[in-house]
C-alpha cells in the first residue's frame, strides 16, 4: 500500500519494519516529519534507531511497511532519495588526509554540483563556518569540534531537502556542541529538514519535536515541552529514564 504524498511532510513512515532472522530490530513504526522541522530521533542503544535511519537513507531494505522520504519511496526509489538527502554519521566522515577545500570539492563533485558554482559555494561555506584561514589545512589537524562542523557543512553542500545526522556531536565538548546546533538552526532556517539522533538529552530540548524508541517501537512522539509535562519530568533526561525503564533490550 502506497502512502499518499503530502507537501507538508518531508518524511512519512507507515508500519516500517526490519527483521534480522527472528530478531525484529524495528517493529512497525509510523510517524511523520514536517518540512523544515528539527526532528529528534531518540532511543537507548539497541532500540533500533540506527536501523530505522539506515532504511530511511536507502542503506538498508525494509522487511515490510512503507516510507516516503523527500517524496520518494524507500526501497523502490533509493536513487531519488539519495539525491535529496544529506548524511553525517557519528563516526567522523571526512577524509583526514585531504585538505579542507579538497574535501569540499570532492563532495561537491560527488553530488554533481556544476563546476561554475563550486568555488562560490566553497567560499560561502568557509565564511559561514569562519574557516577562511583553514582552507589549506589538512582535516586531520583540525580539533574534533571543528571537524564535526565541517562534516555537517559538507553534508548539506548540495542543499538537500533533508539532512540525517546520526549522533553528530558524539565526543564533542559542550561549547562546540552549542556552536554545532547554531549551524543546525541555520540549515533549518534555509528550509532543510533536520532528522537527528543524539545521546545528549539537553540537545533533545533544542528539537521542535522528538520521538523516543523503546525496543524497536516508537514509545512517544511530541514536542519536548509537552512530553515533560505529560511525564512530570523537570528535563528530558527524566522523561527518557521513565520511558526506558520498561525496556527489555538494553
Amino acid at each position: 500500500m502506497m502512502i499518499q504524498p503530502n507537501d507538508n511532510y518531508s518524511i512519512m513512515v507507515e508500519d516500517l519494519t526490519k527483521r534480522f532472522g527472528s530478531f525484529t530490530a524495528v517493529d512497525h513504526i509510523s510517524f511523520e516529519v514536517k518540512k523544515g522541522e528539527i526532528f529528534g530521533f531518540l532511543g537507548a542503544n539497541g532500540a533500533g534507531k540506527t536501523t530505522a535511519m539506515k532504511m530511511l537513507c536507502g542503506l538498508s531494505k525494509p522487511t515490510s511497511g512503507n516510507a516516503l522520504v523527500a517524496g520518494f519511496e524507500v526501497g523502490k526509489d533509493n536513487e531519488g532519495i539519495k539525491k535529496n538527502i544529506g548524511y553525517m554519521s557519528q563516526r567522523f566522515s571526512l577524509y583526514e588526509e585531504l585538505k579542507v577545500w579538497e574535501n569540499m570539492r570532492l563532495y561537491a563533485g560527488i553530488y554533481g554540483i556544476p563546476e561554475k558554482q563550486i568555488k562560490e559555494r566553497i567560499e560561502l561555506m568557509l565564511e559561514s563556518l569562519g574557516f577562511q584561514n583553514e582552507i589549506n589545512t589538512f582535516v586531520k589537524s583540525l580539533p574534533v569540534g571543528w571537524k564535526q562542523k565541517l562534516a555537517f557543512a559538507v553534508s548539506i553542500i548540495h542543499n538537500p531537502k533533508i539532512v540525517f545526522l546520526d549522533e553528530p556531536t558524539g565526543g564533542v565538548d559542550p561549547a562546540s556542541r552549542r556552536q554545532f546546533w547554531e549551524l543546525i538552526y541555520q540549515a533549518a532556517d534555509k528550509g532543510i529538514t533536520v532528522f537527528v539522533t543524539t545521546h545528549y538529552m539537553d540537545e533533545a530540548e533544542y528539537c521542535n519535536r522528538i520521538s523516543i524508541m523503546v525496543d524497536g517501537k516508537i514509545a512517544v512522539i511530541d514536542k519536548p515541552q509537552t512530553l515533560k509535562m505529560q511525564y512530570h519530568g523537570r528535563n528530558m533526561d527524566e522523561v527518557f529514564r521513565k520511558l526506558a525503564r520498561n525496556a527489555v533490550r538494553s
Binding site: L59, Y87, E97, G109, G112
Partner: protein, 372 residues
C-alpha cells in the same frame, strides 16, 4: 582542475591518498624494483666462482688442461689441492667449498688407451639446487676438454660425449625464472592487496557509509579505486622490464603488445581478487592479513620463484594450479623468454579469463549481500 563528474573527483582523491604519503609511494614504486634485484641477484640459482678443491694423483697433461679450463671459466675458482680423500669431509664441513674434483691415477694414459679414465665430482648435497647446477656446469666443461684433448692426441674420442643444452636459457641464468615470478608477485601485491586495503580503509573510517548514502553508484566508487593501481602497475611493469633487460640481461624475445595484453588481463584478475577480499574484510588489518596469508604467501611459495613446484608433493602441485599468478607466470615465460605467440598461451589466457569472471561474480554477490 578537478572535473565536475563524481568519477574524476574520486580518482583525484585516490591519487592524493597514494602520493601524499611518502611511504606508500615509495613502497609502491621502489619496492618492486628492490624485489626484482634482490631475487635476481641474491637469491639466484646461478653459480659464480664456486670454490673447487682438486685431488690429482696423476698430474698429467689432461688433468692440468681440465683444471685450467675450469679456472678460466667464470663459474669456478680453484681454491687449492688436497692430498687425500679423508680431508674432503672436514673441508666441506667448513662450508666454503663448492666442489671437490677427484681424478683417478694415470688419467691421461687411461683415457687415451683404455678409454676409461675416471673423474669424481663431490658436492655438498645439502643444497641440491646448487649441487646440481655445479655438477652440470663442471660436467659440460670437462666433457669439452676431454674431447679437445683426444682430438689433439689424434685418437678418436671413445667416450660418449654428452652435450647438455638448456633451451631458451643457454647460460642457465636465474633471471629467466625470477623476472616472470616477480612480475606476478608485484602485480598481485599492488592490485589485490592495495585495492582491498584501500576499500577496507573507507569502511574503517566510516567514509564508505557516506559514499553509499550519496547518489554515486557503488560501481563508480570501485572503478575509481582501481584506476590509480592500474596506472601504478603499468609503471612497475615498465620499470621491471627495463631492469630485466638492462641490468639482469634477460631479453624480451616475444611480442611486447601481447605481453602487455596478458599483463592487463592478470591485473584485472588481481583487482577482482582484491574486491572480493574487501567485500569480506571490515578493517585494513583484516584485509592485509587475508591478502598476505591467502594471496602473497602461496604466490611466493608455490609459483616456482624460489622452490621448484615440479618437485613438490602432488597436493601442492594441484594447489599451485588454482593460483592465478602461476598461470600468468607460465604465460609470461612463454611470451617473454621463449618468444611464443598468442596460440601458445591461449590456454593460460582462457584460464585467467575464467578466473576473472568467477571472481567478479563472487565479489558482486558478496557486495549485494552486504547491502541488504
Amino acid at each position: 582542475m578537478m572535473s565536475k563528474t563524481p568519477f574524476s573527483a574520486f580518482v583525484r582523491k585516490e591519487f592524493y591518498h597514494i602520493f601524499r604519503d611518502r611511504w606508500t609511494t615509495l613502497i609502491l614504486l621502489i619496492m618492486p624494483m628492490m624485489m626484482l634485484l634482490l631475487l635476481g641477484f641474491a637469491i639466484t640459482t646461478e653459480v659464480k666462482n664456486a670454490q673447487i678443491l682438486v685431488l690429482d694423483p696423476s698430474r698429467d697433461e689432461a688433468t692440468r688442461m681440465i683444471i685450467n679450463t675450469l679456472e678460466a671459466s667464470e663459474y669456478f675458482e680453484i681454491k687449492g689441492e688436497v692430498t687425500s680423500i679423508e680431508e674432503v669431509e672436514t673441508l666441506f664441513r667448513k662450508g666454503d667449498i663448492g666442489m671437490v674434483l677427484v681424478f683417478s691415477e694415470h688419467f691421461s694414459d687411461k683415457m687415451l688407451h683404455t678409454g676409461k679414465a675416471q673423474v669424481q665430482l663431490i658436492t655438498d648435497g645439502s643444497d641440491p639446487n646448487y649441487a646440481l647446477t655445479v655438477t652440470q656446469y663442471a660436467t659440460a666443461i670437462i666433457g669439452g676438454v676431454v674431447q679437445e684433448f683426444s682430438a689433439a692426441q689424434g685418437s678418436i674420442p671413445c667416450q660418449i660425449h654428452s652435450d647438455v643444452r638448456f633451451m631458451y636459457n643457454p647460460t642457465l641464468k636465474g633471471g629467466y625464472n625470477t623476472v616472470p615470478g616477480v612480475l606476478g608477485m608485484v602485480l598481485m601485491l599492488i592490485c589485490a592487496m592495495m585495492t582491498s586495503i584501500s576499500i577496507a580503509r573507507e569502511k574503517e573510517f566510516g567514509t564508505m557509509e557516506i559514499l553509499l548514502v550519496s547518489p554515486v553508484k557503488p560501481i563508480v566508487i570501485i572503478l575509481s579505486k582501481t584506476v590509480p593501481y592500474i596506472l601504478i602497475s603499468l609503471i612497475n611493469l615498465t620499470t621491471i622490464l627495463l631492469l630485466s633487460v638492462f641490468v639482469l640481461k634477460v631479453p624480451v624475445t616475444g611480442n611486447l603488445l601481447l605481453f602487455f595484453l596478458l599483463a592487463l588481463l592478470f591485473i584485472f584478475v588481481s583487482l577482482s581478487l582484491g574486491l572480493l577480499v574487501s567485500a569480506v574484510a571490515k578493517s585494513q588489518m583484516v584485509a592485509m592479513l587475508i591478502s598476505g596469508m591467502l594471496m602473497m604467501l602461496p604466490v611466493i611459495l608455490l609459483s616456482g620463484i624460489i622452490f621448484p613446484v615440479e618437485s613438490m608433493p602432488l597436493f601442492f602441485q594441484w594447489l599451485a594450479n588454482i593460483i592465478p599468478a602461476n598461470w600468468f607466470i607460465r604465460a609470461v615465460k612463454k611470451v617473454m623468454i621463449q618468444g611464443l605467440g598468442f596460440g601458445a598461451i591461449s590456454f593460460e589466457l582462457m584460464i585467467l579469463s575464467g578466473m576473472a569472471l568467477l571472481l567478479v561474480l563472487l565479489s558482486l554477490k558478496a557486495f549485494k549481500k552486504r547491502l541488504d
